[in-house]
Amino acid sequence: MLIRRASEIIPSSEITPEGVYINRRSFMGAAVAGAAAALSPGCLLGQEQEQDQQLKPNTFEEITEYNNFWEYGSEKSDPAQNAPGLLKPRPWTVSVEGLCNKPGKYQLEDFLKPHKIEDRIYRMRCVEAWSVVVPWRGFPLRDLIARAEPTPAAKYVEFLTLLDPVQMPLQKTDLLEWPYNEGLRLDEAMHPLTLMTTGLYGRDLPAQNGAPLRLIVPWKYGFKGIKSIVRIRFQESQPNSTWMKQNRREYGFYSNVNPNVDHPRWSQKRERRLPSLFKNTETLMFNGYANEVQSMYSGMDLKKFY
């Protein structure tokens, strides 16, 4: 079935757990996928699959000029236009709180200091049925969680975006319930693929991509990747995320990429791999990361827990 197919199509080299330095120019050619594969020791797949066009990251412009970031407007061009002039990613404070032994409030620099920053190429599948490939940089969220030492009662992690209508003008409207919040089950948050993201293309995150700190969960729809995070909270109950509050029928807590569960307004079977005109890329179960993540959902009805 689909799960098996996904693992065939998506080579492990799409995840680059090694600190492979990524600069922009090195991604411009098609040869790059092969180069990344050569640097990835865990790779067991054939060369032709490594050179699959699917591995080729989108351009810096595509990634940074076409964004969903409702705090700056609901048109894809709004964030790139508005965020860089308004968002002040320094100084930035992050607090870790809730059910953990080592809560704390940190300046961003201190928050990042203990962590080894690495580069990873992930595909991002938006719930709106388009997708891109992004060379992110960051560190596994699990490292942060290990430091915070959640108590046994902690079952979920909640994330909150900055609340500041001056820096984020759409927060003056009631378009969504502000601040934006998202959540993961603790095991999802602890999964090695889950990335606390600080940059892309080898540099700090641009404002429109959620500077200075965002979440990337590559097997979930893009909106789970909350931007400009200021609070991380361990809790016992499942958080209600912003989009669940907005429209529970269309956006669920899990929001795993799943070609078999349609959005009520459109099919999720296929996606448009930008900048393609055509919506002709088959969407893969868990966005192609089924091998790595499906065991977390065994026994769950994914039509019910969408």
Partner: protein, 195 residues
């Protein structure tokens, strides 16, 4: 009048020219298909609103020749609607008619948009002088379908945008449409007296 009509054609073709120009200069962004779909949908609705505004404007200004602009504007609305539907057929579905039928059956915003488009077809066909003559009074009746199309078109836009929570643009269209329909309903008795 010929000058004005030429100007009208140029005006109505400007959005398309803009899209073509952007297409050739790489200005359609990372998701060109979405951009083309949104813009052609926007201009379809906008031109439908303009055709609905002609009669009230004519009454208020007394400039009766305005009526001559209504047919070309209506046909341009149909033209942009065709482009909009084409983006769906080609870019979204790539001629997968099974998937399209499923979409039309299952998804209200597609059902409504598709219906609005289908209702425009007889209006475009019967827009010629010959058909106007042949249909007589029935022509006026038939062309009242434009109200249905306008309402369904706005609803289509509204339901699509509701998925992303921002319905401000569709609400603007709904407001304009409400004003135009109200203006007409108030005009109708006077039109009859004039006749």
């Amino acid at each position: 009048m010929i000058l004005l009509k030429t100007l009208l054609w140029l005006l109505c073709l400007t959005p398309l020219g803009f899209l073509v120009y952007r297409g050739f200069t790489g200005g359609l962004g990372a998701n060109p298909a979405e951009y083309l779909s949104h813009r052609t949908g926007f201009w379809t609705l906008t031109l439908i609103m303009v055709t609905l505004a002609i009669t009230p404007l004519r009454r208020f200004t007394g400039w009766n020749q305005l009526i001559q602009f209504r047919r070309p504007i209506g046909l341009f609305a149909f033209f942009y609607a065709c482009l909009h539907v084409t983006t769906y057929i080609v870019f979204d579905q790539f001629f997968d008619f099974g998937a399209m039928i499923e979409d039309i059956r299952k998804r209200p915003y597609i059902t409504v948009g598709f219906t609005a488009f289908v209702l425009l077809i007889p209006l475009a066909i019967t827009s010629t002088k010959g058909w106007i003559r042949r249909l007589g009074r029935r022509w006026t009746k038939l062309h009242r379908l434009i109200y249905v199309t306008a309402i369904l078109g706005v609803l289509h836009f509204f339901w699509k945008e509701a998925s992303k929570a921002d319905v401000r643009d569709p609400l603007i269209f709904a407001g304009v449409l409400a004003v135009l329909l109200l203006a007409r309903s108030r005009l109708r008795p006077r039109v009859r007296r004039d006749a």
